[in-house]
């Protein structure tokens, strides 16, 4: 049984689709972050990016703080 999708709900991949043409941050499993302009993606969510910067050693503490502060806004 599949959930009915109302027009107000946005599927996760629809959100990614809306990001095509925009600068996006991709946060990797390993404290790495990639920033670039999304040109497209496929069924595996392989992504094609343009004008890319790769950040290594993106501090986990910094990332945690960011998520917590975002979460606080939702409460």
């Amino acid at each position: 049984m599949s959930m009915p999708v109302s027009s107000s709900t946005l599927l996760p991949l629809e959100l990614v689709d809306k990001c095509i043409g925009s600068r996006i941050h991709i946060i990797m499993k390993n404290d790495k972050e990639i920033v670039g302009t999304l040109l497209g993606f496929d069924d595996f969510v392989n992504m094609l990016l343009e004008d890319v910067t790769e950040y290594r050693n993106y501090s986990r503490r910094q990332a945690n703080n960011k998520i917590r502060s975002d979460f606080a806004q939702w409460k």
Partner: protein
């Protein structure tokens, strides 16, 4: 939707061109893209292996198993 054709046209464009292939381990391989399949298995020619940005090895031909690949990027200049 999702602009899948953007990926396929990129793959066509980079064929026989100099590319950088970065693996999940962080090691870079620079060379001319000879072959690429749906698993992202890659065959490179005139391959140079860079560990921590330093040239460590040169290979005439190299095969990279697709599961190791983080990204494939175009390369402006040859080293």
């Amino acid at each position: 939707m999702s602009r899948k054709e953007a990926l396929s046209s990129f793959i066509q464009q980079i064929h026989a061109r100099p590319v950088v292939v970065k693996l999940n381990s962080g090691v870079d391989y620079r060379g001319v893209l000879a072959c690429l399949d749906g698993y992202m298995n890659i065959a490179l020619e005139q391959t140079e292996e860079y560990v921590n940005g330093q040239l460590k090895n040169k290979f005439g031909d190299a095969f990279i198993r697709g599961n190791n690949v983080l990204y494939i990027s175009t390369q402006k200049r040859r080293y």
